[in-house]
């Protein structure tokens, strides 16, 4: 196993440098990003390519993490959230994400709302039984609602007290962007151009993953879906030939009060967690962002999560209890 050095400017959050393990069948690059263990699985590629791909993947994941994280003081998201009602001009990538967020808001009839992040100020999903006061939730709800935002590309105006949060899209978007970048990198290498069927890359950021195609010998990648009862134990094993998987759920973040489990998916119209939603929803789709959004929409449906997914003819796995 080797450690790959990435210069500090490209590693703004000071994550440990990525590692690379070369196995006979495929290589694995590993690093941390967006509070998740990240892996890049590569089959049919040389050691030099595996190094370049791992480094590129880490840099892209860290770039997106830094650009769209709530916790960074001087990125575009902070600029928007501290703008106190002034218009902020955004770049092309941010504009695309805002357009997407708007479309998801409309398609979900307002249930997917990137302004609902402020509710975290009253909800702390730490596994305890401390529910917030109803009045606190009601007050915070005043600062929630995409309809209160003025988004007219490339300018966004966020009223004082309101915030936007790309947490619901960010990780899946990073998976797709990273995979695209890695594929472009392989295709561009002058001496080692390869047909897409000769290699395969799988990008996995903490369970949200996408792959470029089956492995060169035609075999799929084997992926496990984590059980919500016993973390780190798989409840289902999937064979992936192509496409992406994303999971939404409360495996690691929830509150338990009077025997009722409150998942961390909040209903932006009430300020309270969506009732009777499954513990987790995993969806398979051509892209990770699409899979993640379908999973999120399903969770927002609560009891009807499975009916919704059936209706959309999605490939899904739902864990209820």
């Amino acid at each position: 196993m080797q450690r790959l050095n990435i210069p500090t400017p490209l590693n703004p959050h000071n994550h440990p440098n990525p590692t690379l393990q070369i196995n006979p069948d495929y290589s694995i690059g590993r690093f941390e990003a967006m509070a998740s263990p990240c892996e890049i699985l590569m089959a049919g590629l040389s050691e030099n390519e595996a190094k370049a791909l791992t480094v590129t993947a880490a840099q892209e994941a860290w770039r997106i993490e830094h650009k769209f994280s709530r916790y960074v003081a001087d990125n575009i998201v902070s600029k928007i959230n501290s703008s106190t009602g002034d218009a902020v001009e955004v770049d092309e990538e941010t504009a695309r994400l805002l357009d997407y967020a708007k479309q998801c808001y409309e398609l979900s009839d307002g249930y997917f709302d990137i302004t609902s992040g402020v509710l975290r100020k009253v909800w702390r999903f730490d596994g305890s039984d401390k529910l917030p006061e109803k009045s606190d939730v009601a007050n915070t709800l005043e600062q929630v609602g995409w309809h209160r935002i003025n988004w007219s590309s490339p300018f966004i105006t966020v009223p004082e007290g309101m915030e936007i949060d790309f947490g619901g899209i960010g990780k899946e978007y990073a998976v797709d962007q990273t995979l695209q970048k890695l594929q472009q990198l392989v295709q561009q290498k002058p001496s080692e151009k390869q047909a897409p069927s000769e290699y395969s890359i799988l990008v996995n950021f903490g369970g949200d993953l996408a792959c470029s195609g089956p492995r060169p010998d035609g075999r799929p990648w084997q992926v496990g879906i984590e059980s919500n009862h016993a973390l780190n134990q798989a409840v289902a094993s999937l064979s992936i030939y192509q496409g992406a998987l994303a999971t939404s759920g409360d495996s690691r973040r929830y509150l338990q009060h009077n025997g009722v489990r409150y998942g961390h998916v909040l209903d932006p119209k009430t300020g309270w967690p969506v009732l009777k939603s499954p513990h987790s929803v995993t969806v398979a789709a051509p892209s990770c962002t699409l899979a993640g959004m379908l999973a999120t929409f399903a969770l927002l449906k609560g009891e009807q999560a499975e009916d919704f997914l059936k209706d959309q003819q999605a490939k899904y796995w739902v864990q209820w209890g």
């Binding site: 998801c104 699409l290 959004m293 929409f297």
Partner: protein
């Protein structure tokens, strides 16, 4: 809570996600999924210049995918043809009157200098075929099917079987196939006696003359086709196919509606004009073709994918038969990938030499006062010396994993050549060019 509970939501969401991620965002064609139907539908419209043949052809082809890579395909084609088609007679400096093929519908007139075209050529054909294909084991597979088509005066039925053998990790595929078909022809007005005289319309003896020129109401034709082919993956970007095929037709191969003009080759005032009988009526004879035909064809095709994803597809076909026809077909398409769209220019060049028994007209010497010295003759331009060019462009748009729309526009130009006639006949245009446009709209899901 009310989310749009219909398929439309996930399609809209998928499209929005594509916009977010850019054109490569995984619109992968979802074909061949077990338990699903893959359906291709298209409508084709064909129109020749000068009010000649027009055709509209809707097609629907549905493939049902089963476990273990087995497939069942069902295809329905409806063909409606209208418009005028050359009869084989030559244009003349005088008015010509022809009997309708049915003998009942009266006659039609062709003005001086005009191409003799019969516009009663209206028909609708329905064809249904079904094909089953399945692997036998890792190295072998087979396919078999049946086919039937019917139109007002023609029925065709057939069966086929095909066996495939894979070698070299499926890089090489050998295949051998056979198809047999049996056609029944029952033309309106019955089968004409070969090289008999077309009865003159509006004459007292017409009915008798017409009846005399008829020989039964039904004829049949049998065809056996054998094909041997090899498909070879040359490298990661290129695949090639070679085929050799033999086709044997036996039975009634003549076109019951085609005629030949008899042209006077005696020196004198009428040299090169239509031969007339004692009553001054022009003489036309029904054509006759041999009752068997053996074709050999050799076909080569290559598909090559460029580094940017574009595909070039080129093919060549050589056909030689015992009617004396040799033909060459060169075909090339270039698929220009543009994200979820593609643009596909197409060019095709076809040339054939004329059949041994092809002749633009019969001379009076050959007519020999009603006892023709020939046994076979046809003036059907499709058996003559032809050169054709086709230029086309197809545009396709992939809507999502399942759906694709396409539109194709083609321009077809055909020139014929041959013996330029004698005497007066040389003033006539014996080989007019034909052009046609083809428009096809397709939708797959």
């Amino acid at each position: 809570m009310q989310l749009k509970t219909n398929k439309q939501l996930s399609k809209t969401l998928a499209a929005a996600t594509c916009t977010l991620l850019g054109s490569q965002a995984g619109l992968v064609e979802a074909q061949g999924e077990v338990g699903t139907w893959d359906v291709d539908t298209a409508v084709l419209y064909y129109a020749e210049s000068d009010d000649r043949v027009q055709a509209a052809e809707p097609v629907i082809s549905a493939t049902r995918n089963y476990e273990n890579d087995q497939k069942l395909n069902i295809k329905l084609v409806v063909d409606t043809l209208t418009g005028a088609s050359p009869t084989g007679a030559t244009p003349s400096d005088t008015v010509q009157t022809f009997t309708r093929p049915s003998g009942r519908g009266g006659s039609y007139e062709i003005k001086s200098g005009e191409q003799p075209l019969d516009d009663t050529f209206i028909d609708t054909r329905v064809a249904l075929s079904t094909q089953w294909s399945s692997p036998i084991n890792r190295d072998w597979a087979y396919s078999t099917g049946i086919y039937g088509s019917a139109e007002y005066d023609y029925i065709s039925t057939g069966i086929n079987g095909n066996i495939l053998r894979y070698l070299n990790n499926k890089n090489t595929t050998l295949n051998a196939g056979m198809a047999i078909s049996h056609d029944i022809i029952t033309p309106e007005g019955d089968i004409p006696v070969p090289l008999s005289r077309m009865a003159i319309p509006n004459t007292p003896d017409f009915d008798q003359d017409f009846a005399d020129s008829r020989d039964g109401s039904e004829e049949t034709k049998d065809i056996i086709d054998l094909m041997f082919g090899v498909t070879q993956v040359i490298n990661r970007r290129m695949i090639m196919q070679f085929n050799y095929s033999i086709s044997l037709s036996d039975g009634y191969l003549t076109d019951p509606f085609k005629i030949l003009s008899v042209i006077d080759d005696q020196a004198g005032a009428n040299y090169g004009g239509n031969l007339t009988d004692a009553d001054g009526n022009n003489i036309y004879l029904y054509e006759n073709r041999p009752d068997s035909r053996m074709k050999h064809a050799f076909y080569w095709q290559t598909k090559y994918q460029l580094l940017n994803g574009d595909i070039i597809d080129g093919s060549y076909r050589l056909m030689v038969d015992d009617w004396g026809i040799t033909s060459h077909t060169f075909d090339m398409t270039y698929r220009w990938q543009l994200g979820n769209d593609y643009l596909e220019p197409h060019v095709r060049y076809y040339m054939q030499s004329e059949a041994d028994f092809y002749q633009r007209y019969i001379t009076s010497t050959e007519y020999n006062n009603g006892a023709p010295t020939l046994t076979e003759a046809s003036a059907d331009y499709r058996l003559g010396d032809l050169d054709t060019w086709t230029l086309g462009l197809k545009y396709g748009h992939r809507l999502d994993n399942d759906q694709e729309l396409s539109v194709r526009l083609e321009y077809y130009q055909q020139t014929s050549n041959g013996d330029s006639g004698i005497g007066k006949l040389t003033d006539q245009e014996l080989y007019p060019d034909t052009s046609a446009i083809i428009v096809q709209l397709g939708y797959s899901f």
